[in-house]
Amino acid sequence: MSLLSVRNLSVSFATSAGVFKAVDSVDIKVDKGEILSIVGESGSGKSVSMLAVMGLLPWTATVTADEMIFDGHDLSMLSARQRRHIVGKDLAMIFQEPMSSLNPCFTVGWQIKEALRLHLGLDRRARHARAVELFELVGIPAPEKRLSAFPHQLSGGMNQRVMIAMAISCNPKLLIADEPTTALDVTIQAQILDLLTGLREETGMGLVLITHDMGVVAETAERVSVQYAGQKIEEQPVASLFRAPHHPYTAALLDALPERATDKRLPTIPGVVPGQFDRPAGCLFSPRCKYADDKCRAKPPPPLGGDLGYARCFYPLNTDERAAS
């Protein structure tokens, strides 16, 4: 049985100009010890879907799902109190901006010990010992000294390590990392990604990596789910996704990467991600897709089978790959 199983998740927001559907019938499945990466551009709803699972959305959001099961608990049925018990303990999350995710008024040691106190109920000495142990685990040098530092005294990379230490303090079964390295430099990014994959191996937790960076996905993920305008449009193991994408959007996105360029002119995707006011009637990618025809524009394509990466497309690409695999 999978660790996290979400079926048909939708999230909509009430805004000044009516209802905005940020996530549109998305399925997510994460197994124990697996690294799933959710990729998408801004506005693809990749963060919102995970925040919905965590129950961290503001009250303007309406969340509906056929099924939202984490480790045997039905998240949609839990009371706020029960949910708090799971979120932060078994289900943890780290965010893009390490600086603003930590409270600047308290030392990092106080903050991590507070998390330990709330979820594990350890006594003072045990909390301190565990905090030092966690800091060592995430590779913070001189942990005893760093415990009494304030977030602004540490660099971005160090703060992200502190965030990771806090997130794994209760041995979570699943860690959701929302763009964990976007705000960091490349050399630090490499360190943090290594740390996350290393922790996964040591603790056997599942890892959901939300990112827009195809390079990070290729180097870190095992399975990749591509989101576009709130929908999951394709899901494949990482190697086959990069080798043979089935959805035209995935293919176009990969082609647009400068490092895959063969010419001085890069292939581009015309237009922009549809927003609140111009959601197409048919396939969401149809206004920008070079293969789109009237059928695509008229009705939304249902997801295809697993052998075609669950692609939401009438005319999937690289179909001959199916025979090969």
Partner: protein
Amino acid sequence: MSDTLSAEVKMIQNRPGRLREFWFYFRENRGAVFGLWIFVGFVLLAAFAPLIAPHDPSAQFRAFALRPPVWQDGGTWRFPLGTDPLGRDMLSRLIVGARYSFFVGIVVVAVAASGGIIIGLVAGFAPRWLDAIIMRIMDIILAFPSLLLALVLVAVLGPSLTNAMIAIAIVLQPHYVRLTRASVLSEKQKDYVTSARVAGSGLIRLMFVTVLPNCLAPIIVQGALSFSTAILDAAALGFLGMGAQPPTPEWGTMLAEAREFILRAWWVVTFPGVAILVTVLAINLMGDGLRDALDPKLKRS
């Protein structure tokens, strides 16, 4: 290249305008809408005061001195809210008094805001030493209890409504200076200011054309809130005899004149007091709504 954008054109047209968005956030706040309606009523009353008021506010009907409001024994429909000790109609005086209050609010906010914005802009762009001098002077003004300072100023200038307005404007001005300077300092960091400098903008252009329009939102909110402060302070000065002089039907002055009759005739003090209370409350509620709608930090997505 042009087909790149064809899909986006529709989106742009459908996006709600700024005014509509503003109204959406303003409407969220019930109190603010309520305050807005009262304020509109207040403005109409002030604008058409001579037409609405049943009597001349300074006409004295000696035979009807200290008549109670219409619903009490001895009241008459001729004076629905009763009369004051000199036999003047309370209702007419209150209606015309709205005119004075509105006038005080407008003038004080205009003077305080324009002076404050200019000083704040200068402080925001000035070298460190000038900035420090300006801000310390403002701190000194703020360190005085505001009404006391206004009293001192009026005592120096001589008691009259005009001098009271000047005094209140001077007292309120430092708030605008600080607000403007803070916005200028944060806007100055932004790239569009740098890009205006790279394009060759001079200092004056940078201050007034580039930066100032982007600092206005908090200043508008402050303007609405200090409108009510101005009315309140003018009434207080009037009450202390330092503002509008009798027989001007200014609310604070009316209160002061009626002080000795407070036990015998409750209406002569209550109605001006209620008028001040309702107006100030309405404007403050409206100001809160404005802040919700204009301050992006408080906006919910």
